[in-house]
């Protein structure tokens, strides 16, 4: 067993934490401290999570009935209906804008920056035993570029909204939509730069800033997943930037690129778009994988099972993710041969993903499992993400996808992956590192109730959408055939429960930040008994993370409870 007492910071007297080391608004807005930037990302992603979630609640309420009525009545009450235009069309437009806001904000402003921006920023240097990321000023720039992109999105909301769906498909977006396409695409274009800069920063940090003794195979798996994510961010995001720029050029200068009326090709746009956006799916989920590896190992006090398999499968997923974009286009009119090749490659992604799930479950074997809030989210992830992964097999299968494509089955699938995967992992991670980040403790009982509500609400909302899709309910529908009503009602009620669960979670987490909730005794450095470096420093950490340069002589899952008696040394 490794004795890392020598590097243990608790030997030092308590120092002011990074939260209070400097004071004043300026010390936050222009900070180059990765931890403060992490908190600022956290605040902004949670704010946008709230906005995008509320728009989902509005359109889920609309879907309680097959007719278009809720939005229409709402607009009437607010006096926002233009009497000279057809009320049905006006309210349909509002519905379309709501689901576009939900999708675009969730993808570009919440899921992509959430884990890398908030938890990645906060944890990566701490886990690596570094003082900060490699380029702290670049990190600050990333945040402000993100803010600028976000402002463009907010401007879009006030400039009449966006109704193209988050995918911006041409020629609807370039030539037919009357909404604020340019400001939204420009916002996404700018956000891309934030993503690229963060990715670059993290890659260099992982290559150059690891503590002495921390070999690649002694890195926490969270760092591996952040590394794989960063590679995709740096390589794929420029393609999105170019695509969106071309779209803006087409729209403003009337140069035919994607619009067939001007000699362009709309399918080309889809190729460009998914060449980024499929890898982006892994930008969204890989960091979640990293969190789950930490949660499962720490809360069962077991060495993670198959460390190398999990680490390398992240890299494998990152590589394969670049060559599967065509599975979004099986029915788009791309060639049949392309469809077959993309289908095959898609199945190739399923294997490393399955390996991860099996390894996490195997980690529980002969562990010492504690059912606290972060672990409940970890275990919940295994449930929901398994469903998300398995239903991906249906959509990768050519003939079955023809039927399920663009139906609620797809909606359910990607919510099980994005929400049931990334967001659940994110919330779990937030609880896991909450005390480290804030120096506060939330109420454990409240946390468990929140997890239960989220679990019930989430599954109730999305599980029956698989059935809806299989029965032929297309997505992005404002009105629908009455036959589907009961399932839509079930989904909507589920989404209310989910909202209550998430609000409840937000409330008890915020309540723990009140002055009166400050713990009387300082929280221990490692409340869960974690063994990676972020648990060796003070809670919350001091401004420079560690008092001296930490050294590493073992891997991060070497818990003192592991029984080494009778172990045969085969190295």
């Amino acid at each position: 067993m490794a004795d890392d007492k020598s590097t243990h910071d608790s030997a030092h007297a308590r120092e002011p934490s990074y939260l209070v080391a400097q004071k004043g608004l300026k010390s936050w807005l222009f900070t180059v401290d990765h931890k403060r930037l992490g908190l600022m990302y956290l605040g902004s992603t949670l704010l946008f999570f709230f906005i995008a979630g509320m728009s989902a609640i509005l359109f889920r309420t609309e879907l309680l009935t097959p007719e278009g009525d809720f939005i229409r009545r709402g607009l009437e009450m607010l006096g926002m209906l233009d009497p000279d235009k057809n009320p049905a069309i006006q309210s349909a437009t509002v519905y379309n804008k709501l689901f576009t806001v939900h999708g675009a904000v969730m993808v570009f402003l919440v899921i992509i920056p959430s884990v890398p921006g908030a938890l990645g920023n906060f944890l990566l240097p701490l886990m690596l035993g570094a003082k900060d990321v490699a380029f702290p000023r670049l990190n600050l720039l990333s945040f402000w570029v993100y803010t600028l992109g976000a402002l463009f999105f907010i401007y879009t909301l006030f400039a009449g909204g966006l109704d193209t769906g988050w995918t911006f498909y041409t020629p609807y977006s370039s030539n037919f939509s009357g909404s604020a396409v340019i400001s939204a695409t420009f916002g996404a274009f700018i956000l891309g730069f934030s993503s690229i800069l963060t990715g670059l920063n993290f890659m260099v940090t992982i290559h150059k800033m690891r503590a002495p003794g921390m070999t690649w195979n002694r890195m926490p798996l969270f760092c591996w997943s952040i590394y794989a994510t960063a590679v995709i961010q740096v390589l794929a995001t420029p393609v999105l930037a170019i695509t969106l720029l071309l779209l803006i050029v087409e729209k403003t200068l009337n140069v035919g690129i994607f619009d067939p009326a001007m000699g362009g090709d709309p399918v080309l746009f889809q190729h460009f778009f998914w060449f980024y956006s499929h890898p982006a799916v892994y930008i969204m989920i890989l960091p979640g994988f990293g969190i789950i590896s930490e949660l499962i190992a720490v809360h069962s006090r077991k060495h993670i099972f198959g460390y190398k398999a999990i680490a390398l499968s992240s890299v494998a997923i990152a590589i394969i993710s670049f060559v599967v974009w065509g599975h979004h286009m099986f029915v788009s009119g791309q060639s049949e041969l392309a469809g077959i090749v993309f289908s095959f490659l898609t199945f190739a992604v399923a294997v490393p993903t399955a390996i991860k799930v099996f390894s996490w479950v195997a980690t529980l074997y002969k562990g010492s499992i504690q059912f606290n809030t972060p672990m409940l989210y970890g275990l919940m992830f295994l449930f929901t993400f398994s469903i998300g992964g398995l239903t991906g097999v249906f959509l990768g299968t050519l003939s079955v996808d023809v039927h399920l494509h663009d139906t609620y089955f797809v909606v359910a699938h990607f919510h099980y992956v994005m929400m049931g995967g990334t967001i659940i992992a994110f919330i779990g991670g937030l609880h896991h590192w909450w005390s480290k980040m804030t120096g506060r403790e939330y109420n454990e009982t409240h946390g468990k109730w929140g997890a239960l509500l989220v679990f019930i609400g989430f599954n109730m909302t999305f599980f029956n959408q698989f059935v809806l899709g299989q029965q032929g309910m297309p997505r992005r529908y404002y009105t629908y055939v009455p036959q589907f009503q009961q399932q839509h009602v079930l989904s909507t009620v589920g989404s209310y429960i989910l909202t209550v669960g998430l609000m409840w979670t937000a409330i008890y987490l915020l309540a723990s930040l009140r002055k009166s909730a400050a713990p009387k005794e300082p929280i221990p450095d490692s409340p869960w008994g974690g063994a990676s470096l972020e648990w060796t420093t003070q809670t919350p950490p001091i401004e420079h993370n560690f008092h001296g340069q930490p050294r590493v002589d073992t891997d991060p899952y070497n818990f003192p409870q592991i029984d080494r008696t009778g172990e045969v040394d085969h190295h």
């Binding site: 057809n86 109704d163 498909y169 609807y172 067939p260 077991k302 199945f347 010492s368 023809v402 032929g472």
Partner: protein, 487 residues
């Protein structure tokens, strides 16, 4: 095996929540088992009950008619209904569910419809038989109306499936093409595998959660960190299964992409927000969907391959027929093709599955499948847009307005839609981007053939497609006659 009682919590250690979680998981599995039981019970054949119940409804109809016309009059008839109806209603409700999910034998369903339809008609005929009395006595007329509508509600009970019916996959989606069977089989194969692996993984997880829950703070854990053999197995087994699924899906998909040479050719054009369908081999035949109602949009024969050649006039659309399990994007500037062979006579929904703007969800039509011998006759009857005997030009114009999708964008009641309303349009002065015009025959004809030549102020952003080659001069003159009537 699962409950390891020998390792009960040590005294003094607070019990963890694991056991409760485990109990919850068990309760859940029992619940799903019960659900399966209910589902299988609900799916028993109800053919005999259907005929018997329909006959009882018919008998009730006779009794009501007799009491109303010969006996003590309307009050007595009402009494008869109130006494008999509740019991019948229970059975009819049960049957409505079975009927709604198409689980009655088709022959039985037909007989069931005939008997109960006849019964409803008998009662409805009272309206005529008792005409004289109803005219004199308003209260009597009201009672009679109520009786007839109550009876009608009982006999023609709505056929919405019960909640658990819609939750059962396959309960309401017919397999109406030759592709449907094999797509569904593969779907069910993947469902089976997924359920197996999911239950396996979650079962193992649940077992570990129970067995290795933290009983004490210093509980020792195993030093196992990897196992090459098991890691190889859990990579290789899914890989092999995935290859099987891939090949199966690929073979089925290839079948869907190669249309037989003798397929009936159909042309489909997608526009915001309607479909128009025509048949190169049957000139003049054309169908359109409408955002207002579920109009017949396509007619195909059963048992014959049909090939669709599709394109769009504006944005991306996607033709989706769930009952056939087919779907294909409809792309502007390109032709995409799709083929199928319908295997069941009936009418099925046809959707747009690619988001295309405001009225995306109203871009719905119906596809009608006919016996091959009725196909040609139907096409020449229903498809052709020709002025019929006894039809005035204005009536014909109204038919064109409805059938050629004009109604998707132009209203006739003055309410605004995507384009200007036709109400009061004729002979009006309009300001356009090329200066003021008076709406006359020339302007209308120009606007139909070259819609963007002169655009009415306020509609600059709207791009109406040209109807050149789709509407001839007789159609246009009929439309003009129709417009003249819309004052």
């Amino acid at each position: 095996m699962i409950l390891d009682m020998s390792k009960a919590p040590e005294p003094g250690v607070a019990p963890t929540r694991a056991p409760r979680l485990f109990v919850a998981a068990r309760a859940l599995s029992w619940l799903s088992f019960l659900l399966v039981l209910v589902l299988s019970a609900g799916s028993c054949k109800k053919d005999d009950l259907a005929i018997a119940t329909a006959n009882r409804v018919d008998a009730l109809a006779d009794e009501i008619v007799t009491s109303a016309t010969e006996g003590e009059g309307i009050d007595d008839a009402q009494l008869v209904f109130f006494v008999e109806a509740p019991e019948l209603r229970v059975d009819m409700q049960e049957l409505a569910v079975v009927y709604g999910s198409q689980r009655l034998d088709p022959q039985t369903a037909k007989q069931f419809d005939e008997i109960r339809g006849g019964a409803a008609e008998k009662v409805a005929n009272l309206q005529i038989a008792l005409q004289a009395e109803a005219k004199e006595d308003a209260a009597f007329a009201e009672k009679l109306d109520k009786l007839i509508s109550d009876f009608n509600e009982l006999a023609i009970m709505n056929q919405t499936p019960a909640p658990w019916e819609t939750l059962t996959p396959w309960a309401t989606l017919p397999q109406a093409s030759t592709f449907a069977g094999s797509t569904d089989l593969l779907y069910l194969f993947i469902v089976g595998l997924s359920v197996f692996f999911f239950v396996l993984v979650m079962g193992v997880q649940g077992w570990f959660m129970w067995k290795y829950r933290r009983r004490s703070e210093d509980q020792k854990t195993s030093s196992i960190s990897h196992n090459g053999k098991i890691e190889f197995l859990w990579s290789a087994i899914p890989a092999v299964l995935l290859v099987v699924i891939f090949i199966w899906g690929e073979v089925d998909y290839l079948k869907q992409t190669i249309p037989p040479p003798d397929a009936i050719q159909v042309r489909v054009t997608g526009r915001q927000w309607f479909w128009s369908v025509d048949y190169p081999d049957y000139p003049g035949v054309q169908f359109s969907s409408s955002t207002e109602d579920n109009a017949i949009t396509m007619v195909v024969p059963k048992g014959r391959p049909v090939q669709l050649t599709m394109t769009s006039e504006d944005v991306l659309h996607d033709l989706y027929i769930p009952a056939f399990r087919v779907k294909r994007d409809v792309v502007p500037g390109r032709y995409t093709t799709l083929w199928f062979e319908a295997s069941q006579v009936g009418e099925f929904n046809l959707y747009c599955a690619e988001y295309c703007g405001d009225q995306h969800s109203a871009m719905i039509g119906r596809i009608k499948v006919l016996e091959p011998e009725n196909f040609v006759a139907y096409l020449s009857e229903a498809g052709k847009l020709k002025q019929e005997d006894g039809e005035t030009p204005a009536q014909f114009g109204k038919r064109i307005y409805e059938r050629r999708g004009c109604n998707a964008c132009h209203s006739v009641d003055g309410s605004p839609k995507v384009g200007p309303s036709w109400k009061g349009l004729w002979a009006r002065s309009e300001s356009t981007d090329k200066g003021p015009v008076t709406v006359d025959a020339n302007y209308i004809s120009e606007s139909i053939y070259e819609p963007n030549a002169k655009i009415v102020s306020g509609y600059e952003g709207v791009k109406m497609p040209s109807y050149k080659g789709q509407l001839d001069t007789t159609h246009i003159s009929a439309l003009i006659e129709y417009m003249k009537t819309l004052k």
